[in-house]
């Protein structure tokens, strides 16, 4: 059993209005030292696989075919054995 933690972010060249809104919100809170705020998705899931290679293939498959839009987004993940 593996735990996959996947981060999906919009590519840097794509505008992130949610991030801009949070940046403004932080400034209003008095935290004006924050910049380049970007917001994406964090997905955690458990995978029942025999070995790390199998788990990796499943996560790659899931990211490419369901979780991420590869035109606009990039993904990164870590796998941890339970």
């Amino acid at each position: 059993m593996y735990i996959a933690k996947i981060n999906i972010m919009t590519k840097p060249e794509i505008l992130d209005p949610q991030g801009k809104a949070v940046e403004l919100g932080l400034k209003n809170l008095g935290i004006s030292q924050a910049q380049e705020v970007r917001i994406g998705k964090h997905i955690s899931l458990q995978i029942d696989a025999q070995n790390e290679q199998d788990a990796k293939e499943m996560v790659e498959n899931a990211c490419k075919n369901l979780l991420a839009n590869l035109i606009m987004e990039t993904y990164q993940y870590t796998l941890t054995k339970l």
Copy 2:
């Protein structure tokens, strides 16, 4: 300058319909070994702080007062010096 990477997830006891939908989507894709899918937010930001302690305080402040709803969500973060 520090980079903060923050993960905000709903607490485990709270139902995550988006995660359930993704789990079903993965099954339809043929990945039936995935379970306990949960979806949260991943926020990355740059902080202009003198030292790690200052950066940490800012991130804690931002999480507690703007980014996370502590009744339903938990947050975790890492700080990396640029």
